[in-house]
Amino acid sequence: MSTATATDTTVPKEKTKKTSELKEVLKHLIRNRAAVAGLVIIGFFLIVAVFAPFIATHSPTATSLVTRLQRPSAEHLLGTDELGRDLFSRMVFGSRISLNIGLISTLIGVVFGVPIGAVSGYYGGKLDIITQRFIDIMIAFPGILLAIVVVTVLGVGVQNVMIATGIASVPVYARLVRGSVLAVKEQSYVAAARAAGLGDFSIIFKHILPNCLAPIIVQSTFQIATSILWAAGLGFLGLGAQAPTPEWGAILSNGRAYIRTAHHLTTYPGLAILFMVLGFNLVGDGLRDALDPKTR
């Protein structure tokens, strides 16, 4: 009975605190010019991705031998490739693929990495030691290498790239969340929740993890950028999206053969990747500062 009243009184308080916290964070984010630039970039690509069929001037896959390797013009805004396909339209549709890969692979990393890190940090002991060794093993494959290993086994294609980059980001989250959980679990409200008879599951997911959200959000923003870069790298190596798919890395790789005569095929897709990654990195930097009470 006493626990019920205790939670009854704390819930509304927590809610007002949360909204003011969110307002505070947003206020700091909006005041940060670099972060606003990042938001604008992300917003731009989101609009392009959502309205791709309306923005594209041509079909992204329609070939035409008459218009091969044309330079940018009024008809073909960014020129055409070796099969006469409109580069602008291909890149417009490509924004969907890159955003999807970034979001879904990050989601995979969160869904698997966060619980692993939380359980490892919360229970500690042998479980923690064993989990951490598994994470050590995954981290032993530097950068894009783990994604390459996974793609080698799974095979090429956009879907496998998402899985590969997702798996490659799991250790990042596991490490990050374990650290935050170690710090949070010593707080008195966790002891209070335990004393109130809550199970481990609800303590972890209702009381500890919500207080580890800030680093997870910041990391996810950076992780989306990293995943987009990795996926484009895999596409460039021929291990990612396959031929007619208008994935930016694959378009770039394809255009390499014509770099001396038609460098627009490599320049523009690369710029698109750069801007998208820059957008997420800028917002990540801004969020980190906004969520950190010290730098406010």
């Binding site: 060794r133 093993i137 032993a140 530097p142 080698t152 650290g179 291990l239 770039l252």
Partner: protein
């Protein structure tokens, strides 16, 4: 201290073992017959049978893994299905080139990154600071293979100053090293700057200034020594990441190192070479991390050597 090093060494053993399990599994998880996968696409049935016997593929998995480990310990990584040469030979030929490329890249990244970071921190919010931090942001966001192609386009195709691809003189190294090192340089510039700014706020810097020391001595003798601790950690990790990142750079510049070997091997389904290369890169990374942790322990007296939970 020695207890810490011993513990750290001990922790490396299961990691190396786990890496071996993963690399061993690459071929076993492939759909279809592993013997056919190892033998290669154009293998005759006789050769496939030979492979099956050589790798004991009819034996239970743990026996196969034992044989694999024994081979590893002896430096036997199998045979390339493409060139039919031992994988060890293939790697030994190319690895020094990757090492050279990664080392030069790291040197370039360190000089440029740390230098820019120090100047940025000491002249906070100046034009130099803003410009270099902007370039650093772009440097981290630019896809390395795109940067490679743009540098090729500018310096090799248009200005004709440097060779676009291949290996030979030091001039062949310039573009790949700059490309590979750029992201690391950007990262190091940002880390050096923020670490330096943090140190410059501390009391002992105020004391040093109050003693009447010149700004030069304060910055280069007092602040820098402390500010570089996080940079050293990143330096080590970056070296490992550069070795892995060489995969993309080597492909663009046709630099015949292990990165390129790995990509070619994957595209040719030359699995013994894939396994060997991945094994090498991962082990190197583990080794580098080990060295970094030990160096860090010597550098930073605040680190605690006992207890179970330090990273």
């Amino acid at each position: 201290m020695y207890q810490y090093i011993a513990r750290r060494l001990l922790l490396t053993v299961p990691v190396v073992f786990g890496v071996a399990v993963i690399v061993f599994s690459i071929v076993r998880f492939l759909p279809g017959d592993p013997a056919r996968a190892i033998a290669g696409v154009q293998a005759t049935p006789e050769f496939i049978q030979q492979v099956r016997i050589r790798y004991a593929l009819d034996e239970p998995l743990h026996v196969q893994f034992g044989l694999y480990l024994r081979g590893l310990a002896r430096g036997d990584l199998g045979q390339s299905t493409f060139t039919r040469r031992p994988v060890t030979t293939e790697i030994a030929e190319r690895f020094p080139r990757t090492l050279l490329l990664a080392s030069i890249s790291l040197a370039f990244a360190t000089v440029l990154g740390v230098g820019a970071g120090i100047v940025s921190a000491t002249r906070r919010n100046s034009l130099f600071d803003n410009a270099s931090m902007f370039i650093a942001l772009v440097g981290v966001a630019a896809p390395v293979f795109w940067l490679a192609l743009m540098l090729q386009l500018l310096f090799a195709v248009q200005l004709r100053l440097l060779p676009a691809t291949g290996m030979g003189s030091w001039r062949h190294l310039v573009l790949p090293a700059v490309t590979l090192g750029s992201a690391s340089a950007a990262l190091m510039a940002r880390i050096t700057r923020s670490s330096m700014l943090e140190v410059l706020r501390l009391d002992f810097i105020t004391t040093a200034r109050a003693k009447g020391l010149t700004e030069r001595v304060v910055i280069y003798k007092h602040a820098l020594k402390n500010a570089l601790i996080p940079v050293v950690t990143v330096l080590g990790l970056q070296f490992g990441i550069l070795l892995g990142g060489a995969v993309l750079t080597e492909t663009v510049f046709a630099w015949p190192g292990v990165g390129r070997l790995l990509v070619d091997a994957i595209l040719r389904r030359d699995y013994p070479v894939v396994q060997g290369t991945v094994m090498l890169l991962a082990l190197l990374f583990v080794l580098i991390n080990l060295v970094v942790d030990i160096v860090y322990a010597f550098l930073d007296p605040r680190i605690h050597y006992q207890g179970g939970s330090e990273e």
